[in-house]
Amino acid sequence: MAHIVLDGASVELAIYNSRGRGLKSEILRRTVGGGLQNDRDSSIQVVKALSEVSLEARDGDRIGLIGGNGAGKTTLLRVLSRVYPPTSGIASIEGRVSSLIDLAMGMDTDATGYENIEMRSIMLGLDYKQAQAIIPDVEEFSQLGDFLSLPIRTYSSGMMLRLAFAVSTAVHPDILILDEVIGVGDAAFAERAEDRLHNMIQKASIVFLASHDNNSIRRFCNRTLWMKGGKLMMDGPPDEVLAAYAADSAV
């Protein structure tokens, strides 16, 4: 069963700004070799994107993530999806993770819909047989019909999103990571998309949902984390945490 433990996990990001890089290439052009020692120069800023976050998540947790822009929600989601190894502290994540942050990842606009389904499925960790097996489901759900045989550059952005959404949600992970509940397509499709997402959330063992929409937090989550300035401010039932967050924002 999926299980997550973060113990004092921090992420420090070093930002190498363009001025630093430009200068460095200038130095390198003149004295090749010596320039590489130059990595402690003042052009590097260190941002503490996540500071000392400790939490534990078990099977059945539906965890909402709230906080202002730049509070560290996305960084935390990336730690949870194993993309960011914490720069200090421990992150132990058991279970297959899938994140629906960038639906269009790894899509090739010149390839056909079917080729993209196969490529996306392999990126999601399926083998060729399993990739073939989800095709009927994607066909049925996306309702793109014969368009699936055309290169996806001919699609409208709505159609593209339908395909991306259909493939990404065809596989059920143990740990599901969502950045906002995704609204896709026209009204009829949006409704079906919501059903499908709902179903996916129910089947997952642990769900993380970062959202600015209090209603979706209340609807989907049984626990909420409030992030501020990279720190975990509060961890508790949605209503209490949302109230505390609202009180803090009002000040």
Binding site: V32, S81, Y84, V97, I101, G106, D110, M119, I122
Partner: protein, 262 residues
């Protein structure tokens, strides 16, 4: 030593996710020539044009006949294409996959294998020219040709550690790809691609201290019906061991930081 183990785990994990890099590499080649009428054949054609064009010029420059020179040059250019583009493109292995790296946790070596596999596909297309060149110019083919396979594997194994190291360094220092590209360009002229090793003394530094000369030797000579020199094998085996240890230790220490540099 623990860094070496961590690095090795990354490499093995990368090999295990073969479906991913195989598919991505295949798609890289297909995408480059999609909607072009003769597609991937362009790879073969442009290499053929280069071989015959350069062959005509340099054969008369060196005062040799086309039939003595062209098999040497043709083989050299095709093999050099594999070596140089693998090295240059490895620098971008992590940089060009940043959107995937930032979303899925896969072993870093996967992306390097994508680069290597892509270059092998291109190499396979270029390889088609060589039998034609050998037939037209009557190059002898004998059992030595079997040594080509171990030679190729030895070179690829060496390119893999060089690429792994360069990919990590390039993610952090964005000047590295440019530096590497210029070094490789210079290496073309000091390696026996255009000229023949026999035009130099056997212990000339260009042949002994230049690993590219050894790489060309173990792959080209079998194709031309000669035995590669034992020195070339020794140099490449030595580099293989030292290089992989260095590269694994380095990767074990730094490869998990790559995502923060993209």
């Amino acid at each position: 030593m623990s860094f070496v183990v961590r690095g090795a785990a990354d490499v093995l994990g990368g090999v295990e996710s073969w479906r991913m890099w195989w598919m991505l590499a295949k798609n890289d080649v297909i995408r480059r020539y999609r909607r072009s009428r003769i597609g991937q054949l362009w790879l073969t054609l442009s290499m053929a044009a280069m071989i015959f064009g350069m062959g005509a010029v340099y054969a008369s420059l060196f005062g040799t006949s086309m039939s003595a020179y062209l098999p040497h040059l043709g083989t050299g250019l095709v093999l050099w294409g594999l070596i140089s583009s693998t090295i240059i493109e490895s620098c971008l292995s992590f940089i060009e996959n940043d959107s995937i790296i930032r979303q899925v946790a896969l072993p870093r070596f996967t992306y390097l294998l994508r680069t290597i596999a892509r270059n092998l596909f291109v190499f396979a297309h270029n390889l088609i020219i060589l039998p034609v060149v050998y037939l037209v110019f009557g190059s002898p083919i004998n059992w030595c040709i079997l040594l080509f396979i171990p030679g190729l594997l030895l070179v690829l194994a060496n390119l893999a550690w060089v690429g792994y190291l360069l990919a990590i360094l390039s993610a952090r220092f964005r000047d590295i790809p440019q530096i590497v590209a210029s070094i490789v360009q210079v290496a073309f002229f000091v390696s026996p691609v255009v000229f023949k090793p026999s035009q130099l003394r056997i212990d000339h530094p260009v042949l002994v201290l230049n690993p590219f000369a050894s790489m060309l030797d173990v792959m080209r000579e079998p194709l031309l019906g000669n035995l590669p020199s034992a020195t070339s094998y020794l140099i490449l085996l030595g580099l293989l061991i030292v290089g992989w240890l260095l590269s694994l230790a380095f990767a074990g220490k730094y490869s998990h930081r790559v995502v923060y540099w993209l």
